[in-house]
């Protein structure tokens, strides 16, 4: 974002002045204070009026914290588990055991790479059938021992490629949904960045679904929607608006349960705070769900998803 660059420059300038201030003993504190106020005002203005497309870019921001960042900061002692027990280990979908507020949980998450090198392994967080089958295997493990499941969603979508289709990626997503729908333990899903279509939902059919404030969740990327529906790849801004993909909007529509606030400028501008907010919300949700019997959990989940949809009575149309 070009406006974001302006803010970064200003921030760097303030840091520079601060260094000077300390080094030379010249009193610049007034100037620093003035610039800081200006920075804050600019930031507020910029982020209070984000368009949906800018929100998409923020959700994909290269500095945005990824699943394993939250796993390290909001959980204790993550112990990663690998492999689908059939034909491989997908590094785009991580899974493992961790402790949260003194109890064991199973954590799943799509993991993007920070660098080109990392993305050769992580495929930008686009999971393959091996990933969704690992998720199922680890969810069943959670169920055996009564561990709640926490899913951190951050993916542009499932991996679009020959080898994924050969291994029936669609079938793997469907089976993942079926497994998740029947889990006899509490489940919470949080969209931390990009919630891209079926590849995101595959680990998102939870009892509670939350989103970070600047995350997006959508049936199709705005770019693809622009091509398919507008027949014009430049119209992704319109597509982003039309899709209603922001956390606040989806909360208003009743499709998600809550929005976890981020610092001004996005999660990467105050990671510790975001991770703490995430942790506290997870603990609160799991505490509430903890009062339910396994049967109540499954029944409640089925009722929740059974009711999704909006349609109108058309019996009068036929006359």
């Amino acid at each position: 974002m070009s406006d974001e660059r302006t803010l970064d420059l200003l921030e760097a300038k303030i840091d520079e002045l601060r260094t000077l201030n300390e080094a030379d003993g010249i009193d610049l504190s007034k100037e620093i204070e003035r610039l800081e106020r200006k920075l804050e005002a600019l930031r507020e203005e910029l982020y209070a009026n984000l368009s949906d497309w800018e929100r998409v870019k923020l959700a994909r921001h290269p500095k945005r914290p990824y699943a394993l960042d939250y796993v390290a900061a909001a959980f204790d002692g993550f112990y990663e588990l690998h492999g689908d027990r059939i034909d491989g280990d997908d590094r785009a979908l991580v899974a493992g055991l961790a402790r949260l507020d003194g109890r064991t949980v199973v954590v799943l998450g799509q993991q993007k790479g920070r660098s080109t090198e990392e993305n050769k392994e992580r495929f930008f967080g686009m999971a393959r059938p091996q990933g969704y089958r690992k998720a199922q295997r680890v969810m069943r493990l959670a169920e055996r021992f009564g561990f709640p499941v926490v899913a951190l969603i951050d993916t542009p979508g499932a991996f679009p490629g020959l080898e994924a289709e050969e291994r029936n990626i669609g079938g793997a997503i469907a089976e993942s949904l079926l497994t998740m729908s029947g889990l006899r333990v509490p489940t919470v899903a949080v969209v931390i960045g990009e919630g891209g279509s079926g590849g995101a939902l595959a680990i998102g059919m939870a009892d509670r679904v939350l989103m970070l404030e600047n995350a997006v969740y959508t049936v199709i990327s705005p770019e693809s929607a622009a091509v398919i529906l507008w027949k014009d790849k430049e119209r992704m801004k319109e597509a982003a608006e039309a899709l209603n993909l922001t956390a606040d909007r989806l909360h208003d529509l009743g499709l998600i349960d809550g929005v976890i606030p981020e610092p001004l400028g996005g999660a990467h501008k105050g990671f510790e705070r975001t991770a703490t907010a995430l942790r506290e919300e997870l603990v609160r949700q799991l505490e509430e769900l903890g009062n339910r019997t396994p049967g109540e959990l499954v029944e409640g989940r089925h009722r929740r998803y059974r009711e999704v949809g909006q349609y109108r009575d058309a019996s009068a149309d036929d006359g």
């Binding site: 979508g157 490629g161 020959l162 669609g170 079938g171 049936v219 899709l243 909006q310 349609y311």
Partner: protein
């Protein structure tokens, strides 16, 4: 089956405008073929064997015992929850599709018998916004399964869909979860589910309900897959085999149980349902 003098009919002058009501041009072989002959041949090109699309009504006719179909498609219609406008408003697309197909949305649901076995049958219609699954299609599939559970009839779903209805955004995506939730109930109740994949079964439909049949059949000529060929080529610039996402591809990789010719589908279902019936 009556024998037409095919060659006489098919060698007509291609430059001449064909009579709309009697003739059609096969997209696959380019031949002009007699429409009635096509219909009598299960909508298969008599010249090259290409399968033409079946409307939901034609599909029902093909599969069920004559006179046994009782439509139970719920009287509901799309509500445009996002007030979605792309090149045209979504309600306009729905109205056009309704006018074109005579359907309320992209699926028909009914009770019927197949070789005297009572079933609940859901049939998708690709002509209705690509057979896409939004709130209405999701709801119809769920109600169909609930009827199947209640009346202990096997459920048969014939898919023909490009995936989720984009104009309903996340509402559509979540129909995947909705249909899966009811599918789980059907499994618990011990009611059999046969999924029949036809051309095409892709995206969110393939990645949810269609892939969760106790038995999955594919009609010959089906296209089965999650991400489209073009999407994959754009994203990965990958060389794709010519039979990519075909019935043979899905079979070879274990995604489906059997591939069945259109003309044999009814008998195949009858045979299969026989295994799930009560002991004599």
């Amino acid at each position: 089956m009556p024998i037409f003098k095919e060659k006489d009919y098919l060698r007509v002058d291609l430059d001449r405008e064909p009579d709309e009501s009697l003739w059609m041009k096969c997209k696959s072989c380019g031949e002009l073929v007699f429409k009635r002959r096509v219909r009598e041949n299960n909508n298969i090109c008599p010249s090259c064997g290409e399968y033409f699309f079946l409307t939901a009504v034609e599909r029902v006719d093909l599969l069920v015992d004559e006179g046994s179909y009782e439509d139970i498609t719920a009287p509901i219609s799309s509500d445009d929850p996002l007030q979605f406008v792309d090149r045209k408003p979504y309600p306009e697309r729905v109205t056009e599709a309704q006018a074109k197909t005579g359907l309320r949305d992209a699926i028909l649901v009914g009770r019927s018998t197949i070789a005297d076995v009572p079933v609940v049958l859901g049939v998708m219609d690709f002509r209705f916004i690509g057979g896409s699954m939004g709130s209405v299609v999701g709801e119809q599939i769920c109600r169909a399964m609930e009827t199947a559970i209640e009346e202990r009839r096997p459920f048969i779903l014939v898919s023909s869909s490009g995936g989720a209805r984009l104009q309903e955004g996340l509402f559509s995506l979540l129909q995947m979860a909705k249909t899966v939730a009811v599918r789980a109930e059907m499994a618990k109740a011990g009611v059999p589910f046969v999924s029949v994949m036809t051309y095409p079964t892709s995206g969110g439909v393939q990645a949810s309900i269609a892939s969760l049949g106790d038995v999955i059949l594919a009609e010959r000529g089906a296209m089965i897959g999650f991400a489209g060929r073009r999407v994959i080529q754009n994203a990965m610039s990958e060389e794709l085999p010519s039979h990519f996402q075909s019935d043979a591809f899905a079979f070879e990789h274990g995604a489906i149980d059997r591939v069945v010719g259109r003309e044999a589908l009814r008998n195949e279902l009858a045979t299969l349902l026989g295994f799930f019936g009560e002991a004599e």
